[in-house]
């Protein structure tokens, strides 16, 4: 299929292109370039600003590249204990949350993929209905409270562990990518469901599991709402909550700037610190994603196949 497409592509290229065609191509290139620039410029500016001196940023001398490059802001960021503990917490929540969510997803997806399961339709309906109607914020909060999860780390990972969209993705994968004849043959040979899950389904689901790991890690890394609602103890805060305090609510704490003379502070060290913080907190995902984007796209496409 891919080769066929390539062949038609080269056919196109070999054809003598009309003038209208050339103009059309030029417009396509131009518009795409524009779209790329609109997205890229703010990102480049933020990185450059984070490496520049406060005075240059505030006065608008930083346009594209860093002016008088310095690591001042980064030194301050990495000295900050709250940011480091937030980082550690986020990594912890991402890891544990992903593990739990993945387990729950697979335990739901495999039974739902077995066509002979009595009650399968009912189970599916129960899962789907929960996506159409929700009890709302307060009843949800009260449930977490009644379960005794409030103000514990579990409140960040357990309530979001079940994700119906993920279950549908995994189930579709099992149904389409794993030949049912193979599973049937295993059953005739006396293999139990647990055996089939461990020896056949899981080894053949590597790519889908990678997609789900991604979704979970990105989701957990970027979320702040549950932590804001359910946590009280500063030591448990994930990075996003700490970012919110510093970046949005403007509480640059004194321990971040205490060592620097007041004059520089006035000239906007706070600003540069914020740029550095934006970079430090977003960099892991932005650096990793070009390598994993193939899987991410695959997940989206699988999801659309269902629709």
């Amino acid at each position: 299929m891919k080769r066929l497409k390539k062949e038609t592509d080269t056919q196109y290229k070999n054809q003598i292109r009309s003038r209208g065609d050339k103009i059309f191509d030029a417009i396509v290139y131009l518009l795409l370039g524009l779209a790329g620039l609109i997205v890229l410029y703010p990102l480049v500016y933020i990185v450059s600003a984070s490496f520049s001196t406060p005075a240059d940023v505030v006065s608008g001398r930083v346009v594209l590249f860093p002016v008088n490059p310095t690591l001042l802001a980064y030194q301050q960021v990495f000295k900050n204990k709250r940011i480091l503990s937030g980082y550690a917490n986020t990594i912890l929540y991402s890891a544990v949350g992903t593990l739990i969510s993945l387990t729950v997803t697979i335990l739901a997806a495999y039974p739902l993929s077995c066509k002979r399961l009595v009650g399968r339709g009912l189970f599916s309906k129960l899962f789907i209905f929960s996506t159409l109607f929700s009890g709302g914020l307060i009843p949800f909060y009260l449930v977490v409270k009644n379960l005794g999860l409030l103000y514990t780390r579990w409140a960040v990972v357990l309530p979001v562990a079940l994700n119906v969209f993920h279950i549908i993705l995994m189930r579709t994968h099992i149904q389409t990518a794993i030949p049912s004849e193979m599973l049937e043959a295993a059953e005739i040979d006396g293999c139990s469901h647990v055996g089939k899950l461990f020896y056949m389904v899981l080894p053949l689901s590597g790519s889908m599991i990678a997609v789900l790991v991604l979704y979970n890690v990105v989701g957990q890394w970027n979320s702040y709402f549950n932590a804001m609602m359910f946590l009280k103890d500063q030591d448990m805060y994930p990075l996003q909550i700490i970012l919110r305090d510093i970046l949005v609510m403007n509480s640059v704490s004194s321990d971040m700037t205490v060592n620097i003379s007041e004059m520089i502070l006035k000239q906007g060290l706070a600003d540069v610190l914020k740029y550095a913080l934006i970079v430090v907190s977003s960099a892991p995902l932005l650096i990793v994603y070009p390598f994993i984007q193939k899987h991410f796209v695959k997940g989206v496409m699988m999801g659309s196949m269902k629709g």
């Binding site: 066929l4 039974p111 009890g135 309530p159 647990v194 996003q240 934006i278 977003s282 496409m301």
Partner: protein, 322 residues
């Protein structure tokens, strides 16, 4: 059905057949017991975090006190709803929610489709890949960081945008506190963040279009604009319909996270939406019953909307979610 049973067992007594059927079913369920044990774990999660809160919705009809619980609290009928609709907050939050989501729904339609078609038309492989990669990078930026970027770049004194505007001789614009600009800042920053990602689904729809159609169009002498108009756009229509239905389902639920972070006392008149109001009434004022009633109203509207749009779509275009 009855004849079917007879055929299977070769006997006539339907009662006995049913008994055999039931026995067989039980046998099969016993064989599949491992499956039931597996699915019981996700079901526990489902009931705890989805269905228990649905039951908890009952407190909307109560003067709820946490110490007494759902059983002990006093039932007050629709008073909580009446109270909500009698306050000026009701019309204000409902209109705000509706205007913000309608704005982002409509503004969000053309750009992902346009980007997908442009990428599809682009012949330079590397250039195409680079643009694609860049445009969906912002999707990975968290809401908190996104709002922080807005605050930084739009800062009236030091922000990049205002530094530019200053050079052009336009006075500083206070984007984050200006009521008339709130919606635009919200919607366009959202588009900046999600257009590339939302285009993926259309790109995959475009790649699924039958190549023979293009071949036929070429033989008929269609130019590229005509190919886009007569093949590409109809080809992605089913995908578009599904996406549209899904966004209609959330028309009354402007995502809490971003609005809440962008809120300040200056723009509250246009930025207070149902979800932030529910949060404040419930978890800050601790008015559980009342807040839950507002949330329930919101949930019901959402469900109604998605069912309505789905029905209309099924009748008119035969594309639907269910």
């Amino acid at each position: 059905m009855k004849t079917k049973i007879r055929n299977v067992n070769g006997t006539n007594g339907t009662k006995a057949d049913k008994k055999i059927m039931r026995q067989k079913m039980r046998q099969r369920m016993w064989q599949d017991r491992q499956l039931y044990i597996m699915i019981s774990i996700p079901l526990i999660f489902l009931f705890l975090f989805s269905y228990w809160p649905m039951y908890g919705v009952l407190i909307s009809f109560q003067k709820f006190s946490p110490t007494r619980g759902v059983f002990g609290s006093k039932w007050i009928g629709l008073s909580n709803f009446k109270r909500f609709f009698s306050t000026p907050s009701a019309t204000r939050t409902i209109t705000n929610t509706f205007r913000i989501s309608l704005y982002s729904l409509i503004a969000g339609i053309p750009f992902p489709i346009l980007l997908a078609i442009l990428l599809n038309e682009c012949r330079g492989g590397r250039y195409k890949k680079a643009v694609q990669m860049i445009t969906y990078a912002p999707y990975f930026i968290s809401t908190v960081v996104m709002v922080a970027i807005l605050f930084q770049l739009l800062d009236p004194r030091t922000g990049l945008v205002n530094v530019f505007l200053n050079k052009l001789g336009i006075g500083p614009v206070s984007f984050m506190t200006d009521q008339s600009l709130f919606r635009s800042v919200y919607v366009w920053s959202g588009l900046w963040q999600t257009t590339g990602f939302n285009a993926i689904i259309y790109i995959s729809a475009l790649s699924a279009i039958d190549q023979e159609l293009y071949e036929a169009a070429r033989i008929d002498g269609a130019n590229r604009l005509q190919k886009i108009w007569y093949i590409d756009l109809p080809g992605i229509l089913p995908t578009f319909t599904i996406m549209f239905i899904m966004s209609c389902g959330s028309i009354m639920s402007v995502g809490f996270e971003k609005v809440y972070l962008m809120q300040n006392s200056a723009n509250l008149a246009v930025s207070e939406v149902l979800s932030t109001y529910t949060y404040k009434m419930g978890l800050i004022n601790l008015d559980y019953g009342y807040s839950s009633a507002v949330g329930l109203f919101n949930s019901i509207i959402n469900t109604l909307f998605i069912v309505l749009v789905n029905t209309i779509s099924r009748r008119t275009s035969e594309t639907s979610l269910w």
